[in-house]
């Protein structure tokens, strides 16, 4: 086993971290948030130039042939900077679905467009009643005369408001919450019958409620057989979120350590109070546990055995959720009042961490799944 990065991976890490350091200080980030879309199109173009938007796609399909490790490197750096561009929605989620489900003609059309930064996509999957159940899909797709149409409501679609194309999950057969009978469809976000309502999440990233009323759609893969692909891509997405979370936690910890060194009360730096030193140490322990599980998640994201993959990613999300919860709360507490303010960065990390805890299932949800699967160690 070797946790060291290859030369190419180190280069990638250096260049992404440098980009984030140069373009994502707290004040610059505020400016991006003030634009209508809430992120920087200039930086999106830079990501394209650097090859980040095509990173996980095969070289033959306009990409750079990166794997889970490369995605981890990018996501961790983005977590440190609280990057706002819709990388996760377009490249990780939609890109993942296209990689695993699209025909070669569809991939040839869409992947180069994503890689070049001209096409942004979103995954319209979750629904009001679904909570964290990936199979709870009631939006329906009907075929008539060889063409498909979609009707239903999707909720909490990450970056869905300004996406050009949507990948929509819809039921073609089967009872509500059955894994069998779900299809994936490509929909033009500007098509008649699509209506979108965008809004900010707590961390200032954006999502949308999207309703579809008899909207023309093109199947992505075999309609009705999409669940395994969705589950797989969500597990890949969990690995990416785990890496982002590690970046968020590490940055929160650094900010906190800086504060402990500089804030003076009772005539000395508060970092000299041993009780606070121990709290900072416990944060480090939690972060290292999370980092290890982010590696595990990255390692297992492409595991062929879906059950083993699910166990691993559930375990990773549990650890990420617990560590992130603790590190975030402690970061605020150790700052005192200043940690409670919008003007100071630590609260923004705390809020992003809280969103990551909730995305694709909180720790309790994955704990129940993992426990039901018998845990990690074979008995």
């Amino acid at each position: 086993m070797d946790f060291d990065l290859s030369e190419e991976q180190s280069l990638l890490k250096d260049s992404v971290e440098k980009l984030v350091a140069q373009h994502y200080d707290f004040e610059q980030r505020k400016k991006y948030l003030q634009t209508p879309q809430g992120w920087s199109p200039d930086l999106w173009a830079r990501y394209a130039e650097m090859g980040l938007l095509g990173l996980p796609f095969a070289e033959a399909e306009g990409g750079f042939g990166g794997g889970a490790v490369e995605t981890m490197i990018v996501m961790e750096a983005f977590g440190r900077g609280l990057v706002l561009e819709p990388y996760f929605a377009t490249v990780v989620l939609a890109g993942g679905l296209l990689r695993h489900a699209a025909s070669s003609a569809q991939r040839a059309e869409l992947l180069p467009a994503i890689a070049s930064g001209t096409l942004r996509m979103a995954f319209a999957h979750s629904e009001r009643q679904a909570r964290y159940d990936l199979a709870d899909v009631t939006t329906s797709a009907r075929e008539s005369a060889g063409s498909w149409r979609i009707t239903g409501e999707k909720s909490l679609v990450l970056a869905g408001e300004h996406a050009d194309r949507l990948i929509v999950s819809a039921r073609v057969a089967g009872a509500a919450r059955a894994q069998d009978g779900i299809g994936l469809f490509l929909v033009d976000a500007g098509a008649a019958g699509v209506s979108r309502r965008g809004y900010a999440l707590q961390d200032a990233t954006r999502a949308a409620e999207i309703s579809f009323s008899d909207v023309p759609a093109t199947p992505l893969g075999a309609p009705g057989k999409a669940f395994p692909v969705i589950a797989r891509v969500v597990d890949e997405a969990l690995a990416a979120l785990a890496a982002e979370a590690v970046g968020v936690m590490a940055a929160m910890h650094e900010v906190t350590l800086d504060y402990l060194r500089t804030r003076k009360q009772f005539g000395r730096a508060i970092g000299q109070f041993q009780v606070l030193q121990h709290r900072a140490v416990d944060m480090l322990v939690a972060i290292e546990q999370a980092r290890s599980m982010a590696f595990f998640a990255t390692m297992m994201a492409n595991e062929a055995d879906a059950t083993e993959r699910r166990r691993a990613l559930a375990a990773a999300k549990i650890q990420i959720g617990r560590s992130g919860h603790k590190v975030g709360q402690e970061a605020i507490q150790l700052h005192g009042g200043i940690g409670m303010t919008m003007e100071y960065k630590v609260g923004h990390y705390f809020k992003r961490m809280t969103m990551i805890e909730l995305l694709f299932g909180d720790a309790d949800h994955h704990l129940a799944e993992l426990a039901a699967m018998g845990g990690l160690i074979a008995g």
Partner: protein, 399 residues
């Protein structure tokens, strides 16, 4: 030892319960239960309603509206008020500056201020903390220099809760820079309309505006606004901080929140199961209920002990109530996050003012994350939980 309440105590509790649940304005209670912020006007209305019925300042001296209740009666009053979602009378007025003036102020100050403080005709805010002086409050630097018939006040206060609503501010100021830190501090009442005062809002991470910075630039404060003796302000501040012995745990608030969580967890579904029927959620909830019951009994022990305690001396046991009470209150905000799940994510400040468009997810989800974020403050303010532990280590454990 008699571990049961007396018949009279129970009758008193029932009387309070009836009043808060049946006579107090329903609309204000409902708004509070939904986790929305009350406007200044609503808070004033609420306090005046209570004051008109002798229920705003029952713990004050009788001459100024107090009721001479036993500590158990005061406990029931607070507990039933919190459980009914009735907003507590403004703590800066009734628990902080009011008792200080009643105990250390002169007759003129008592007559001028106490009735208006009780009725919220004057809204006070608390000017203790400064940018460089939080936990180490005694290091405060805002200065007041005598200049003829007034003080000239210069400096800055921060984290001043609801200063944007306040008519007056009570401040700790340094009047003797040469003395030991604790011995050169005075307690001043300052009119917020005085020239030279600037209030700047601070937005908190939940998006709300409840704290402010308050700047003093050559503010003239009449000498007669000094409370008690010059340079004795630290004693009054300690009296003030020790005054709130029991309400601090907010057991009633947590009970009511758990009730609300149960109500919402019965509405929210995960697949074909109600969230309330999820065994993991039930266990987490029950575990918090156990902690809360223990805290309630601990609080009652402190309350019962109060008869023997020295008036105005902080009881170090109140630090136990503060630590555990804040942890439980914070735990209830996390349980509400668990109930609403992914619908904690949308940022919907509109819930405060009323919906123009339908909410994203259930309407009760909107305050979940802001409350979770905002209530992190409870373990920071009023003496952080680390400072409370230092107090216990020293005062109870003798370490």
């Amino acid at each position: 030892m008699d571990l049961a309440f007396t018949k009279e105590e129970i009758a008193f509790r029932d009387e309070m319960r009836h009043f808060f649940r049946n006579e107090f304005p329903e609309a204000i209670r409902r708004k509070a239960s939904e986790g929305r912020h009350l406007s200044r006007e609503e808070m004033v209305t609420a306090q005046r309603f209570l004051n008109a019925r002798g229920l705003a300042v029952p713990h004050w001296p009788q001459a100024w509206g107090g009721r001479d209740w036993s500590s158990i009666q005061t406990y029931f009053y607070q507990d039933e008020m919190q459980q009914a979602n009735v907003p507590s009378p403004l703590p800066f007025n009734v628990s902080m500056v009011g008792p200080v003036i009643a105990t250390f102020g002169n007759e003129r100050q008592k007559h001028e201020f106490l009735p208006q403080i009780a009725n919220l005709d004057i809204w006070f805010c608390q000017g203790f903390s400064e940018p460089g002086s939080g936990s180490d409050l005694a290091s405060l630097r805002t200065s007041a220099k005598r200049d003829g018939d007034h003080y000239l006040v210069n400096g800055q206060k921060t984290w001043t809760t609801l200063a944007q609503y306040a008519d007056w501010i009570f401040c700790l100021v340094r009047t003797d820079p040469a003395a030991k830190p604790q011995e050169g501090i005075s307690f001043l009442l300052i009119d917020m309309k005085s020239p030279g005062i600037t209030v700047r809002p601070i937005q908190t991470i939940d998006g709300g505006h409840e704290v402010n910075e308050v700047f003093f630039d050559d503010v003239k404060v009449p000498l007669e606004n000094l409370v008690g003796q010059e340079n004795k302000g630290w004693d009054y501040a300690k009296f003030l901080l020790g005054n709130e012995r029991t309400g601090i745990a907010r057991v009633g608030t947590s009970k009511e929140r758990i009730r609300r969580i149960k109500e919402l967890a019965a509405l929210e579904r995960s697949g074909d199961q109600r969230v309330i029927d999820n065994p993991r959620f039930r266990e987490k909830l029950a575990a918090v209920e156990v902690e809360l019951k223990a805290l309630e009994l601990t609080q009652l022990r402190v309350v019962a002990n109060e008869r023997r305690a020295q008036h105005g001396k902080p009881d170090p046991a109140s630090s136990i109530l503060k630590i555990k009470g804040s942890e439980i209150q914070q735990a209830t905000t996390e349980l509400l996050m668990d109930v609403v799940g992914p619908y904690a994510m949308p940022y919907q400040p509109q819930f405060e003012e009323g919906w123009n468009e339908p909410p994203i997810g259930p309407d009760y989800a909107a305050p979940a994350a802001p409350t979770y974020f905002n209530w992190r403050k409870i373990s920071i303010y009023g003496g952080s939980n680390e400072i409370q532990r230092n107090i216990i280590a020293k005062a109870i454990l003798g370490l």
